[in-house]
Amino acid sequence: MKKLILLIEDDARNRKLEKVLLEAGGYEVLEAINAQEALTFLKKTRPEIILMDVRLPDTRGTELVKMFRTDENLKGIPIVFVTASAMLDDVQEMESFSNCGYILKPINTRTFVKDIEKCIAKT
């Protein structure tokens, strides 16, 4: 059975690219365009990995993680940020969470899936 991954990304083309790569890597991808949608999915299902952009249209990815960390059910899901932001503040914030990793955009398509797995292994 394929591992379920929740991809939260507002940019349609980036979401598409990442989905293509993940599916090619053997994952089943659940797409969400914002935090709202992601939360709706999470009520029904529990993915093995959550992949998210830091700058989401309705909230910051980091805020969302804080929310997950208070939820008994979602607490343990490893999270990987995929972000175009290279500002130090953002990086520091992303690094402050346990069970979290980050990948900077632009992604390397050839190593994307491996990078994610490496991130999770580290956490």
């Binding site: 940019d11 090619a24 632009p106 050839r110």
Partner: protein, 625 residues
């Protein structure tokens, strides 16, 4: 010579030899006559006659000699007598002349007995005595008698100053030994006294001016200086001032005096005279006429009155600076104080000194205000700039995020296509797709560099310091460009001193710099050339790293410019070697963040170049040239 002795000598009788001569001569005559007579009476022998003749001859000779001797002595006596008479007369005249000395002395000379009776006085003293007599009915004033008596008892000289009408006399009372009198020698010292007085006044005036000048050096507001000046003027001992005064200045309105400082003024005057239009009252008059205004008492010109105003006089002195009026000094005088040119002259000097101080202080205060305004403006501007920098860096951060998002899918899909995971591409398609990828990656590196520079400028670039081996870093960096260098048939030379050891720096960023410099070296060196790294200790605290090539080189005017943002050498190579134009600017900024220094050396175009940088082994050991 004593007079008595001269007289005695001139009257003395003939001397003893002279007396003897007077007796011998007649006796000789008598003897000759007697012998002659006797020999004539007894004639006879020839022998007797001879004897007689010889005797007569001898007597005659003796007589002659004696008479000559006598007459010479007589002459001598006469001459002496004459001489003595002349000397006597001269003496007498001398005495008369000497006696004239005290009489002719224009200074008073007196001789006063122990019981204060005048024994002698000359004409000059006579005039004084006459006046004493008319004034008090006594020949000598009591205080002179008192001093004379004291001089007698102590047997010491005394000096006594006597004011006599407009004149001042200094008397020296000199006791004379063994005499029952004292001599008084007077001297008119009126002029001396005046000079002395003038000197004293000048000295005091100078000291007032000196104090005023001194006040001006104190770092206090003008008002305080003016108050101190008024206080100082009140302290002048020779000026019959009331303890009141004020200083007015001309400020915004050129026809109005504004009271800036005052001492002892009545409450009602403070508001009444706060602003005095030119021409009003005495101060206004001084301002209008530009002349010192004096009033003996409260006269018709004194238009300001208030309940219980005491009698007083005024000096109102205009303070002139160059050809305009800067204020008026208003001093209160005791009623009846007479106007004096000397005082006016002094007050004018005070006004002149004050004028300089006022103008200087005003300029200083204006400057201070301007300075403060400027400082506020600079602060505001700095704040604005800081805000602008923040906005700029936030903008760049956002923009870089926004730009990276579409680039992510451009690069990503291009790569996916290029990898032919979803079907094969023909060669031309592959070539074109490669161009898309290349351009997209170039755009990405531009964005990254701009973002890095923005971060440094906004002070947001933070170094993550760690200790690492510089030798390994340099070798690792070389591996990254080895492939490129091989393609271009470039020879790589490595010369790293064994003792360079570890450094504390941001490893990732130093690697970025070294890679960037090596990349440039490869880029700007024609095929078959040489590139290399040299590293050695610069001193105990720093390491020098040279990244050199045998490439196109640089002309000296570009040595500084290459490190500017977006600078690219304008030549035929520009197009050939595309770059962001930010690499070296970033290199410089990062090295400076590490407290190091970077510069370039080149022998000229076509002669290769050496990029040198000095990196402190610890950031605290800031390097500076």
């Amino acid at each position: 010579m004593p007079l008595g002795k001269i007289k005695e000598k001139s009257q003395s009788k003939l001397s003893i030899p002279q007396l003897l001569l007077l007796f011998i001569i007649p006796l000789s005559f008598l003897l000759v006559f007697f012998i002659t007579y006797k020999s004539l009476l007894t004639p006879g022998e020839a022998g007797i006659r001879w004897w007689f003749l010889i005797l007569v001859t001898i007597i005659s000779i003796l007589f002659g000699v004696l008479s000559r001797l006598y007459s010479r002595n007589l002459k001598l006596a006469n001459i002496r007598l004459e001489q003595e008479t002349v000397a006597y007369k001269r003496m007498e005249e001398e005495i008369k002349n000497l006696a004239k000395f005290p009489a002719q002395n224009p200074n008073p000379v007196l001789r006063i007995s122990r019981d204060c009776a005048i024994l002698y006085f000359n004409a000059a003293a006579g005039a004084l005595i006459n006046e004493w007599k008319t004034a008090s009915g006594k020949l000598l004033p009591e205080y002179i008698c008192k001093q004379v008596k004291e001089s007698f008892t102590s047997n010491l000289s005394k000096n006594l100053e006597l004011i006599h009408g407009a004149d001042v006399f200094l008397f020296s009372i000199i006791p004379v030994e063994n005499e029952a009198y004292v001599n008084l020698y007077g001297q008119n010292i009126t002029e001396l006294k005046e000079t002395e007085n003038e000197l004293r006044l000048n000295y005091e005036a100078q000291s007032v001016l000196y104090d005023i000048a001194r006040f001006s050096l104190e770092p206090v507001p003008l008002k305080e200086i003016l108050e101190k000046v008024i206080d100082r003027l009140m302290f002048i001992p020779w000026f019959a001032l009331e303890q009141k005064g004020s200083i007015f200045l001309v400020e915004d309105d050129p026809e109005v005096l504004v009271m800036k400082a005052q001492r002892g003024l009545a409450e009602s005057l403070l508001t009444f005279c706060a602003r005095v239009p030119f021409g009003k009252c005495l101060c206004g008059k001084a301002a209008q006429t530009n002349q010192v205004v004096f009033s003996l008492c409260v006269d018709e010109c004194h238009t300001v009155h208030y309940q219980g105003m005491p009698a007083h006089g005024h000096y109102c002195v205009p303070i002139r600076y160059r050809d305009r009026l800067s204020g008026v000094i208003n001093l209160y005088l005791k009623e009846g104080h007479q106007r004096s040119p000397k005082e006016e002259e002094f007050l004018n000097s005070v006004a002149n000194v004050l004028a300089g101080i006022i103008e200087h202080k005003k300029a200083e205060e204006a400057l201070k205000q301007a300075h403060e305004t400027l400082e506020i403006k600079v602060k505001e501007r700095t704040l604005e700039l800081t805000r602008a920098y923040k906005v700029k860096s936030e903008f760049l951060a956002n923009m870089s995020h926004e730009l990276r998002t579409p680039l992510n899918s451009i690069i990503g899909f291009s790569e996916v296509l290029f990898d032919q995971s979803f079907g094969t591409l023909n060669e031309r398609q592959k070539d074109y797709l490669n161009d898309v990828l290349f351009s997209a990656k170039h755009l990405l590196s531009l964005i990254n560099d701009v973002l890095d520079i923005a971060k440094i400028e906004a002070g947001k670039m933070q170094l993550s310091l760690s200790v690492f081996s510089l030798k390994s870093l340099l070798e690792d960096s070389l591996i990254l460009i080895k492939e490129k260098a091989r393609e271009r048939k470039l020879e790589i030379l490595l010369d790293i001193a064994e003792d360079i050891g570890n450094v504390e720096a941001d490893e990732r960023k130093i690697k970025q710099i070294v890679y960037n410099l090596l990349n440039n070296a490869v880029k700007f060196t024609p095929d078959g050339g040489k590139i290399g790294i040299r590293a050695k200790k610069y001193d105990l605290a720093a390491i020098e790293i040279d990244i050199w090539d045998s490439g196109i080189g640089l002309s000296s005017e570009n040595f500084e410019k290459v490190f500017e943002d977006f600078f690219q050498v304008e030549n035929s190579y520009t197009k050939k070697y595309e770059g962001t134009g930010l690499g070296l600017a970033l290199t410089k900024k990062i090295i400076e963040l590490h407290a190091g220094k970077v510069w370039v050396e080149s022998a000229g175009l076509g002669k290769g170049s050496v990029f040198k940088f000095i990196l402190p082994v610890k950031r605290q050991f800031a390097y500076s040239i």
